[in-house]
């Protein structure tokens, strides 16, 4: 079996020109509904006083964290971290659209898709990556600000880009999900804008977590269990009908 991959985004804000081609590429690739986007470019509007100004643009998306809170929040296992390469993905068929993962993500990288009702977020264009292409946002990035690749491969563009350079993960004292986006600019210029916010339980959430969620989980378990029993029954009963050529 091949070595496991360790996919990461490497982002160089110094190269981002805020053209937003990445956002359109992502929308075109995934046909996300109007008003919803899987990826962003944060802009901090010129800082300083005329004429001594600076401005930075910081691309961001799901960080495919090594310790993803969305995965632990998901009641059905629809959100999972793929063993083979570390991508955090969503199984749309298993997603029940409960929105727990949306609340759990400290980067607000998730949303509930208005058309499908399911959880949605950056999937690192896994289908393109599997076909040897770059994710749509990376492929189209004019400034070369967005890079993607396998950190376990020393020859990948991401390994080359970070070689000998300081990298910064968008974390803070409260939150460290070990995000797999490595920024090439120091935190004061960029990470501030993509810094995670700790999820303080609000009253509604508290109720959800202590009372409602266990009930929901039990209900799902019962439903699933019932279905599974019926399925097992069918599976063993109708052996020949299901045999594939």
């Amino acid at each position: 079996m091949a070595l496991k991959k360790r996919y990461a985004f490497v982002i160089d804000p110094a190269r981002c020109i805020d053209c937003r081609a990445c956002m359109v590429a992502c929308r075109a690739e995934w046909n996300t509904p109007a008003g919803q986007t899987r990826i962003w470019v944060h802009s901090d509007g010129p800082r300083g006083q005329f004429p001594n100004l600076s401005q930075t643009f910081v691309p961001a998306q799901c960080h495919h964290c090594e310790d993803p809170w969305c995965v632990s929040a998901c009641p059905t296992g629809a959100t999972f971290k793929r063993d083979s390469d570390g991508l955090v993905l969503i199984d749309e068929e298993a997603c029940i659209g409960c929105g727990l993962c949306v609340n759990a993500c400290p980067y607000q990288a998730r949303f509930r898709n208005l058309e499908t009702g399911k959880a949605d977020k950056c999937s690192a264009c896994f289908h393109r990556v599997e076909a040897g292409e770059m994710p749509a946002c990376v492929a189209t990035c004019i400034g070369g600000a967005r890079l993607f690749g396998d950190l376990n491969d020393p020859n990948s563009t991401v390994s080359q880009a970070i070689a000998g350079r300081a990298v910064y993960r968008p974390i803070n004292d409260q939150v460290n999900t070990r995000p797999m986006t490595l920024y090439l600019s120091p935190p004061d210029a960029s990470a501030v804008q993509v810094s995670p916010s700790p999820r303080q339980p609000v009253p509604a959430e508290t109720f959800w977590h202590t009372v409602a969620l266990p009930v929901v989980k039990a209900a799902i378990a019962l439903a699933f269990g019932g279905q599974a029993l019926a399925f097992i029954f069918q599976l063993f009963k109708g052996e020949n009908e299901y045999e594939e050529a």
Binding site: A14, R15, I17, D18, C19, R20, A21, M23, V24, A25, R27, A28, E29, W30, N31, A34, S43, G45, P46, F50, P51, L53, S54, Q55, T56, F57, P75, G77, A78, F80, R82, D83, S84, L89, D91, E92, E93, A94, S123, F126, H127, A136, A139, T140, C141, I142, G143, G144, K217, A218, I220, A221, F224, G225, A228, F231, I232, L235, Y242, E244
Partner: protein, 735 residues
């Protein structure tokens, strides 16, 4: 329990089901948190069903979301364009596409497209049309054009076109018809740049090379927002490699944000800045003496003329410190030949913009232009000569041109023209009255300054026909609209970049009854009795005739997307396509026409007390006036439609961030939301072009933002014919 990876599960669902169904149920329950089975078991969780978009086939073609023409690989599924990617084999895309290029499929799938020929039924401008057949629409158009020709002469028909690959066929139509009145966007954009570089270097559209460049001066060339994919990428690459980029712009653009140095120069004084650089470089012997002696004429005259243009002289004019100008002159000359001052594109700013461009061309010549012999920064884009259908001579034209070329503007190249003058000639009826207007995918109502006057001119005409994709503002006033297929649905003539020749070809069938420009002009030509000028059977036949000299089959270029033509031999000595055969630092052509032979200072007008310079300039998400109805671009053009105003100027007028303000010029007024920013000179305001469409046929773009051409005043540069867009001065007050 057996450890099973998801991949195995996906590969062999059935076997897994049979073997592990009980365990699977347990694992699924574990994922629900009912049983705590630990992470190892949890990983074998429920089946994960992942599906990404797939494509049935791919087509290699060319983008047309702007005029840079990037290579595109279009993916199609189920007969529908799914996704566009940049073609790595095209030198203009290098594998990338900008936001506009990525959004291109939404132009094809815009619900507001014109899909059938339309004929006006209501009053002109009422927007009431009925569907017609091609036969009827073309017959009627030809009948009207022949009536105008027979009654008033062919010169009574105005033609105008946007910059596109089928433009040569449109020009063929108007030349064969016999009208001298042809308007393009050029005088609203790059007349000053082209005229100055033709007169100085004999090159009309200089290409730029970035390899190894260490010092780049950008005079309002906002490459990070006025995006030319490959050039923007190359500039970013040079910046990342440490090149020193100086941006002269009264506004803190995204290019300024990336540059080493931003100089918020006073509008209209870039000429003084460059003259001062020239003065220092000559005065301190920093120029490339060998190049100047061998390849240029008029150096001594220049040295004499710029003697007084010192950094001390330029500092109060430009409001850039003397020491800064002096330092940049030194740094620029020291970096030579790996340095250049960008020749720009849109230079329609002030009536002195021609002189600014001359100074830039001369400055580049002084430091040598060529890093290596015969390998110049500035060279024409392509020298490939394609085949084509036989071309009979055009009828002789005796009528004067309505745009004043050459009788009023002797040095404006015929090809460039002075578009804004054509509109004014319709209104005055001088030197004669125009009766009809035929425009091809152009939108003069939005693009020309002083929108009210353009609408007035449109209302005065007897017949208006347009070729368009959506119901643009100008088409709204047309009598006949001929629907053109989008760039993803049609063929266009081939396009060469260097020695590589690219094809634009249909990715999908046209929607409705939209047709290619090649087809439309031929059909119209046939009805006008001009069939000899359109000797091709169909689009593919036209391209076959273009390919004929190279022996390349159409099928091959369709498959690969391009072919490589033989590279012409380079001649030994570098020559320049000017009257003297050299770089004309001093131009006898200019002198004879009564203009200064070398670049000299011309004072641009300043706004009177209480008024602002109204700046225009690109946003990275739109192209001119053509893309604002695109659903994908509307999603990403946030923060582009407000009026930029400096907080100091706002405070004096009691204006707060987000207030609605009234912007008034001599041409008109608009009301717009204000954005207070430190990123603009306190004596300037900025409004992005292209918003505030007036056509209700553009459901998404109608009245979204405001249209700056309602306030732009018409001023023309007497040398190049360029419209001076920044010479509009406005008051700003709370609405």
């Amino acid at each position: 329990m057996e450890e099973i990876t998801r991949e195995q599960w996906l590969l062999n669902r059935r076997q897994f089901m049979k073997g592990a169904v009980l365990a699977g149920t347990g694992a699924a329950l574990a994922k629900l948190g009912i049983f705590d089975l630990g992470p190892a078991q949890a990983q074998a969780g429920p089946e994960h069903f992942l599906s990404g978009p797939t494509a049935d086939y791919e087509v290699r073609t060319l983008c047309e979301m702007c005029v840079w023409r990037c290579g595109v690989i279009a993916k199609v599924r189920g007969g529908k364009i799914e996704k566009l990617d940049g073609n790595p084999e095209h030198p203009h895309s290098l594998g990338n596409l900008c936001a506009r290029g990525q959004s291109g499929l939404m132009m094809t799938y815009d619900p507001d497209r014109v899909l059938y020929p339309l004929m006006r039924v209501g009053e002109r401008g009422s927007g009431r049309f009925r569907r017609a057949t091609w036969e009827e629409a073309l017959d009627f158009t030809a009948e009207q054009m022949l009536r105008i020709k027979n009654t008033y002469g062919p010169e009574a028909m105005i033609f105008s076109s946007t910059h596109n690959l089928s433009q040569p066929l449109f020009e063929n139509l108007l030349n064969a018809y016999g009208s001298p009145n042809y308007g393009t966007q050029r005088s609203l954009c790059f007349n000053a740049m082209v005229t100055a570089h033709l007169l100085t270097l004999g090159i009309q559209e200089p290409a730029r090379r970035y390899d190894g460049m260490n010092y780049i001066i950008l005079t309002g060339r906002n490459l990070m927002e006025g995006i030319s994919t490959s050039e923007t990428r190359q500039l970013m690459e040079r910046i990342a490699q440490g090149a020193h980029v100086v941006v002269l712009d009264p506004r803190f653009t995204k290019t300024a944000a990336k540059a080493a140095e931003w100089l918020p120069i006073r509008p209209g004084t870039d000429l003084a800045f460059h003259l001062a650089l020239i003065q220092v470089i000559i005065d301190e012997n920093l120029y490339d003496r060998a190049f100047v002696e061998r390849y240029t004429v008029g150096f001594d005259e220049l040295a004499e003329a710029v003697r007084g243009y010192t950094p001390r002289w330029a500092a109060p004019i430009t409001e850039i410190p003397e020491a800064t100008i002096y330092r940049i002159a030194h740094e620029f000359a020291e970096a030579a030949p790996y340095a250049f001052a960008h020749p720009n594109w849109r230079t329609s700013n002030f009536i002195n913009s021609f002189q600014t461009e001359r100074a830039i061309a001369v400055l580049n010549a002084l430091i040598g232009l060529c890093p290596e012999q015969g390998d110049c920064i500035f060279a024409d884009e392509s020298t490939v000569s394609l085949g084509g259908p036989p071309q009979p001579p055009y009828p002789r034209v005796t009528a004067m041109r309505l745009d004043g070329v050459p009788w009023k503007y002797p040095l404006v190249p015929l090809k460039l023209g002075v578009f804004q003058e054509i509109r004014d000639a319709v209104l005055t009826g001088q030197p004669y009255q125009a009766r009809g207007w035929f425009f091809s995918r152009q939108n003069p109502i939005m693009s020309l300054p002083d929108m009210a006057r353009t609408i007035e001119a449109f209302k005065k005409l007897e017949f208006i026909v347009s070729v368009d994709i959506i119901l643009n503002d100008s088409s709204w006033y047309a009598d006949v609209i001929l629907p053109e297929a989008t760039y993803l649905e049609r063929y266009d003539p081939l396009h060469a970049v260097g020695s590589r020749v690219f094809i634009r070809q249909p990715v999908v069938e046209p929607l409705g009854e939209a047709r290619s420009a090649l087809w439309i002009y031929r059909e119209l030509g046939r009805r006008l009795g001009l069939e000899d000028y359109f000797q091709y059977l169909d689009e593919e036949d036209y391209i076959r005739q273009q390919l004929a000299p190279f022996g390349v089959p159409l099928e091959q270029i369709k498959q690969v997307g391009y072919f490589d033509a033989p590279v012409p031999e380079r001649s030994g000595e570098r020559t320049w396509n000017t009257p003297s055969g050299k770089v004309e630092i001093a131009s006898e052509t200019l002198r004879k026409a009564g203009f200064p032979a070398v670049p000299v200072w011309e004072e641009p007008p300043r706004p009177p007390e209480g008024r602002f310079y109204l700046l225009t300039g690109k946003v990275g998400q739109h192209t001119q006036f053509a893309t604002q109805n695109n659903a994908y671009l509307q999603e990403v053009d946030y923060h582009t439609q407000d009026l930029w105003l400096h907080p100091t100027a706002a405070a004096q007028r009691g204006i707060n961030n987000g207030d609605l303000v009234r912007v008034t010029s001599d041409a008109g007024a608009v009301e717009v939301k204000v954005w207070l920013t430190e990123g603009i000179r306190p004596d300037c305001v900025y409004l992005a072009p292209g918003f505030g469409h007036a056509s209700r046929g553009l459901k998404k773009a109608y009245n979204r933002g405001v249209n700056a051409s309602r306030v732009h005043v018409t001023f023309t540069d007497p040398v190049s014919g360029g419209q001076a867009l920044t010479q509009t001065f406005v008051t700003v007050e709370r609405a």
